[in-house]
Symmetry: C2
Subunit: 431 residues, 2 copies
């Protein structure tokens, strides 16, 4: 019993997920994750309801993922997480997963069914010039949600966060934010429904007021519990969480939501951003606001496999949207971890281990044809298809995706960036 607890503790220590660090060793116990996060497995009915309400098939990321249904984030969870600096999360066995705050998401769907709209809020910390495929996923999914629900979208580029956390000047953070905005715009967002902003350009006015309404309601000890700050961290870090919290409140955007301060907010984001919104959801009712609902994705795995981590310092750990066809081919063939057997004979006999196979995981994200994916999984899993053939198909899929993105990005002008970032009303945002 004591040994079990010891091993459990060790496992937790080996998994670190916060907005600035993601690392894990070994397999994850998802039941434990559910337990810790106060989740329950996603109600399939919610996905069908989404299908019915939007008259669109659920996105491939919804259809294929393994889902956790966040029942709710009660405030007692805040006090629990205060005592554990780092939370248990990983990206092993599951390719990708969305955590749905069911009760709030259901409320959003209830309201939507009654004719009440909501708005979407997502964002990115612009720490690097080139995005990799993992970075694109929340934006691809957000575009689906925007198209499906026909609702406005707020995209925050936290250039201030990256200035505070990285060895970057303000000017360089701002430059990266604009470059990243081009990749985001290339995902196809509707300019008549989308407002993109950078913190350095936008913080002030109602946004600043809301920042302080939040900051006044989070003690330093709570922030330490949620974010793991230490006394040697600078106060810029301690000041930042409210900046990411307040786009959850419509009153932060008077040019968009004046008179609509009661609008609900749905946040699609990667699960490493969860601490910000756990804090936000705790504060929201205390300042008379709705809690934002969340749809959270787990991490896109590194080419090296489920225990690896995509790293900016290792370009071979990820496919970048700037990679050439040759680079993609090279990376997949050389670095994508295979679940195939060591010899052809053994492979024909045992088949591939799909649970650890990166080409299969990547195809699960990006190969849209359900029939073909099932065929590949069956053939490969039963040894009739070889790793080389699966990798070849993945190279084709990724090359097409990246080429399509590159073409779209090339057509994004500085004027378009300015237009998306203009502080303006969106008269047709709910049409």
């Amino acid at each position: 019993m004591a040994a079990a607890r010891e091993s459990e503790k060790k496992q937790e220590e080996e998994q670190v997920v916060n907005p600035w660090e993601v690392s894990a060793k070994g397999k994850i116990d998802y039941d434990k994750l559910i337990d810790r996060f106060g989740c329950q497995r996603l109600d399939e009915g919610l996905i069908s309801r989404l299908h019915r309400l939007t008259s669109r098939p659920p996105h491939v990321f919804l259809r294929r993922g393994v889902f956790f249904a966040h029942r709710y984030f009660p405030s007692f969870l805040l006090s629990i997480t205060e005592t554990t600096n780092e939370r248990v999360v990983s990206f092993c066995f599951v390719l990708f997963c969305f955590v749905l705050c069911c009760s709030d998401f259901a409320e959003i769907l209830d309201a939507y069914e009654r004719g009440d709209k909501f708005y979407l809020y997502t964002g990115r910390g612009p720490s690097s010039e080139a995005l990799h495929l993992g970075h694109l996923i929340p934006f691809m999914f957000t575009k689906y949600l925007q198209d499906a629900f026909k609702v406005p979208l707020i995209i925050q580029l936290t250039d201030d966060e990256k200035f505070l956390w990285k060895n970057l000047t303000i000017e360089e953070s701002q430059r990266l934010a604009r470059e990243n905005a081009k990749d985001i715009i290339a995902c196809g967002f509707d300019i008549s429904k989308t407002f993109i902003f950078t913190d350095f350009n936008y913080v002030g006015g109602s946004f600043y007021k809301n920042m302080l309404e939040v900051a006044k309601r989070v003690t330093y000890n709570q922030a330490v519990g949620i974010f793991g700050f230490t006394g040697e961290d600078h106060i810029g870090k301690v000041s930042f969480p409210p900046v990411q919290a307040v786009p959850s409140f419509p009153s932060s955007f008077p040019h968009l939501f004046s008179g609509k301060e009661n609008l609900r907010c749905l946040i699609p984001c990667a699960i490493d951003q969860d601490p910000y919104f756990r804090m936000t959801r705790d504060v929201a009712p205390r300042i008379g606001c709705h809690k934002p609902a969340l749809i959270e994705s787990l991490f896109f795995p590194a080419l090296q496999g489920e225990t690896g981590k995509m790293s900016a310092s290792d370009p071979n750990s990820a496919i970048y949207v700037t990679d050439s066809a040759k680079e993609i081919k090279n990376k997949v063939n050389k670095h994508a971890f295979s679940g195939g057997q060591d010899s052809i004979e053994k492979h024909r006999q045992l088949g591939a281990n799909l649970e650890v196979d990166i080409p299969i995981k990547y195809l699960t994200f990006f190969l849209e044809d359900d029939v073909e994916l099932e065929h590949i999984k069956k053939e490969y899993g039963e040894g009739r298809m070889l790793t080389g053939e699966v990798k070849q198909r993945l190279v084709e899929v990724l090359t097409e995706l990246v080429e399509r993105h590159r073409r779209a990005r090339a057509s994004v002008t500085e004027e378009m960036v300015n237009a998306f970032m203009a502080i303006r009303p969106l008269p047709h945002m709910f049409d």
Copy 2:
């Protein structure tokens, strides 16, 4: 020896001065204060130099105060103050004192003599509707400096600070800021050289960038050392110090100082604001900025005497600019601590103790006629003048001052407040 140390420690503990609390018991040892603050007594030559440079007699606050000359604030002081949460300061024996950062103030005068101008920066936390005389003093002195040097002035109203520290809504903090602005404008500032702003209206843009440049360079531990924060303080408090720091940097005001980013800054303020600027001066060179120079005033004493404290909860502890002539008379006669003797006979024989006499302290601030003041002090100190007579003269002086202020304030319109607060260039700010 051990007993002496014990008593010294006790004395320190009994004295608390930070931007949110001022309290003291017993007499102060100013030599110790100088020692702790790394000051030296003010060079009289500096005051005469000021006289010569500005062709004006030094202000009565300069002529009559007891001065400390801050040699410099080396960064090692920061680490010393980190180990002492509360600093030794008091307002006993000295009515009022300016702490001059000599080396930097001298640099400002050097530069001024060469034809280089500087700008003034002061401010107020708008926590109450009515100002008392102590609140007016920094503004009266700042007006003298603006007139003498013909330089621009920035006045910050920290409505955000008061929202964070007090049980006030944002709207109420903003309302108080506007009301206080009227009292400040009534002090006679030159609108062609003065920009008044409230944080809730102004934070953003270059100001926000500078806030983060500062925040990135102060650790939480350092902030605890300087400001005495605890883990139960909310993160709004921890976030605030950079807000008060950055008006020290011209680049925070591009509408005023574009192309003049190297302009020096002189800050007249009460000494309880010192922690903010000790932090600012530590950071300044690390972000390529001049350290602001400081002229700091000690506190204006309460009517109850040198060991009392002016308190918002006790209206009889201070004269407010809204007090009627009758209230002033009543407060002075009933509450002003007298250094006179218990009986007329004893008073005629021994004279008054001017060191503790509040009417004399107040006259030292506000009776401009040097000859009359000296006469009263001599006659009163030698027992020929009685407390009642001195109080009567004080009532006249204060009534006139308060009446003058009331008339000036009554003529301040909302349009004038808007005009002072307009974000605009000041084309003649150095004329």
